[in-house]
Subunit: 569 residues, 2 copies
Amino acid sequence: MLAASASLLNIKVVILDVGEHSPAKQILAPTDPKFTHIDGSFKDPEKILQLSEKVDVLTVEIEHVDVDILDKVAQSRRVQIHPSPSTIRVIQDKYNQKIHLQKAGIAVAEFLKIPEPTPEAVHAAMDKLGLPLMIKSRTLAYDGRGNFVLRHASEIEEALATLKDRPLYAEKWVKFEREIAVMVVRTVNGTVTSYPAVETVHKDNICLLTFAPLRSPDPATIENARRLAESAVLTFEGAGIFGVEMFQLLDGTLYVNEIAPRPHNSGHYTIEACETSQFENHLRAILNLPLGSTALKVPSSVMLNLIGGSNDMSQLTSFVGYALNVPGAAIHMYGKTECRGGRKMGHITIVGDSDAQVNDRLRPLLTQLPIPMSHEEIMKHAPHPPGSGALHDHPNPLVGVVMGSDSDLGVMIPAAKILDQFDIPYELTIVSAHRTPDRMVQYARSASARGLRVLIAGAGGAAHLPGMVAAMTALPVIGVPVKGSSLDGVDSLYSIVQMPRGIPVATVAINNSMNAGLLAIRILSAGIPRLVQAMESFLHKQEQEVLGKISRLQDIGWEEYEKQRMGSK
Amino acid sequence: MLAASASLLNIKVVILDVGEHSPAKQILAPTDPKFTHIDGSFKDPEKILQLSEKVDVLTVEIEHVDVDILDKVAQSRRVQIHPSPSTIRVIQDKYNQKIHLQKAGIAVAEFLKIPEPTPEAVHAAMDKLGLPLMIKSRTLAYDGRGNFVLRHASEIEEALATLKDRPLYAEKWVKFEREIAVMVVRTVNGTVTSYPAVETVHKDNICLLTFAPLRSPDPATIENARRLAESAVLTFEGAGIFGVEMFQLLDGTLYVNEIAPRPHNSGHYTIEACETSQFENHLRAILNLPLGSTALKVPSSVMLNLIGGSNDMSQLTSFVGYALNVPGAAIHMYGKTECRGGRKMGHITIVGDSDAQVNDRLRPLLTQLPIPMSHEEIMKHAPHPPGSGALHDHPNPLVGVVMGSDSDLGVMIPAAKILDQFDIPYELTIVSAHRTPDRMVQYARSASARGLRVLIAGAGGAAHLPGMVAAMTALPVIGVPVKGSSLDGVDSLYSIVQMPRGIPVATVAINNSMNAGLLAIRILSAGIPRLVQAMESFLHKQEQEVLGKISRLQDIGWEEYEKQRMGSK
């Protein structure tokens, strides 16, 4: 993917990798003998030297390289290396990486060195950090290889056998709410810019899904994750893109888990979903070119890794055939000739105009994975909307319909029916400004970060709900004045519409929640243009209905028409 | 670009083109000797035969191929050819193409065969079709080569000399309002799907810019263009993508100008702006795979061709260096080693959250083109917004602020000020429901097709404007009740808020147009998520202002505070 970005900018690239037809070499045919690729391992000092003689800037796509030779190259030659060898050295030893971050004041989970790979040393760590305990290889670990979850002291021997003779360290088990990742790009001058935070889902220690952007009931999380990731990357040297993986604990605390000094799987979504991909920005950073915009260009996206189920390539081929039917799904096959169980063979990025649409597009794919996924898992990552027509408790709502009391429900139902009719995911619930003020604050404050785009609030009498909600969200709030037993609803109307300067409520007619639903559709069309057509069809149908009445009135005369009209009441 | 799409799907491609390092070959290094590319001309029958022996499906990226040999291949081998040779044959002779379209009932400009390239024959055509007259080469014409605009009979000799001995035809000069193009993809089964219509801008007969989606004061144009393009492509045989170029006359009539049976320059924007690119859909179509979605995934985009200014490649390199500074600009260099004046060396696609943003991103690029563009041209294609702060007459407005009378202006100004403050392009004008009813209809009906996303309408007394506008657009309409000399504005409020079921108006408080402006920002945030943050900052600032007053009240006591407050009035 780095190679593809380079060729769009006419940047010449020489690849060091094993084999004549490794993936990057397939899409970079050298136009000149001096750019011929190198067949060899990225761990082979001779080959690294050979590469350094051919290029102006040297970068890595994997951190498990020979850093001693990079140091030597950096000292003796005019070639620039990004990120700097010192950064790669610190990061490639996970224990040193943690020490580095801890010293810099970056929040990480508790960890301890295991001085030697003996049962006693592991036991000592267990005594200090408790069970379960993560035993991790300090080096050469990726995609879960090199990790062992120790659940009981009796498993210590197994852990040591699994992790062989590698240098180890122990990490306190973190009970996390979810995993978050942020791509950060660092310029030659040491400034950093980050991409939007995403939620990652791992299965068997391998990244399976990345949802972008991150949704959160706590709006602060989204900015905090970016800030933490940027601070972490600021502590390293050299230019390039960095992937920062984090845990979020149940209380909202964020810990940095691991940093990758290179393009990262959790940033693949940027190719289709952002204004500049992580790959292009890595190139721009290491070549000291202006960075591209990291902004999202689509409302919602998800990345799904294509992980081999076995040696049988045809499983994968048939999955890809299936994926071709999913709208908005961009398939990236990596050109690997051999499939293996657990091997990343490619990925798919799905984009859509809302989380709900992305979710609907993802669900069928999860049912067809080469490594089958249980129904429960599928429902967790791509939950089904509730039964047909009733979208009132959708997992990815765009509209929140709230009312001050269940006595308002009858008046508010037409709004819900309109949302059902236009197939717009929503949630409908009771939030009372006066009786559940804390709930109201929490609801209003979290609405935008949860992915909602419009709120509809119905209230009667003093009717504070719409205005109070509007005061605590940046989203558009539609107010429905509900008619009470006295004053004919004028009290509610005045309460809702006469908002002070600074906080608007979009007020509709008394008891007319159907119009609130229709207004929500019109508002959503600012981000979902196909709703403009849908609303135009609705208006046309409405017109046709009245035209039908007109011709009937003409046909049967006013006397008969009025008789029938009264009869049908 | 076709090659890049193919490699993402692990589709093996063999290229026939001159040279060992032609652009497509640079990004398709064969992984097996049987996929070795062919060095030769696409006009060379031997080479075409050689290619046909290596592939299952054969396609073209240029229509000027030897069709006789394709016919032979189609008859004698198991290889499929898309689009079908018969289609290529008809299309590669522009006169036959026009005859074909005319017979099928597709609207084209008047045209005539010029039986032989003699002054007499041209004169005869001129007498029938008038001046100016397009003299066109029937074959081998592209990027304007092969066209001559005859403005006077005295130029006939020059025309014949320019077009040499090619077969010619004449086309009536079409005075067009603008040029429109639509990409259409045709499956093996003969069904068609189209991409959104775009506006194209040509300079010196070469496509320079493509704006997607098309904006139009006449909402019907957008659908009519798609329908005409689809009908035209339905008349041809074989699968694949087709580019349909059209003229729109001053009266709105659409004529098909030319059809390309292949990926087309006017579809390059689809790589960044649509859910599936034209290139991938061409592959899907010719391989009989399910087609991908043709929907736009971004609100707005423009494609700019990078056309060489001279043999000097450094001009281009410095332009690309400049373009790296433009956010949302994706650069596509084609890897051509030699630059020539008028040669397409690459292109740039700019995406953005609105036409205004795309326009602002495009403008600086137009000032730096290798072939300089005049200030007038730049202002035509990427007009400057009006002077600082005053966005009231923006060429790409997102919000329309209308009022029933100039006497409402004082009340409506705060809405405009809010839009200025949030840097939202808008237009502000007078539209009276009662005094200019036709203007109102025209304004409301065209609003969405012109790219507007929200309307704000202020009115007093009977206050019909907001509701009537809402009845004739699918966009959200915000109503501002303006207080008149009697009834304290309650008349306007009731008129605006008490809309019947089916047509909502988002009503704000009496005379409170500031809230209308703020509501418009909140509504726009449904499509421009950064506005959520901007609104949050606004709310925060508002809060700080009140907190400042609170602490001042505490500091100086209520007596002094009230004295100062009254004094400042």
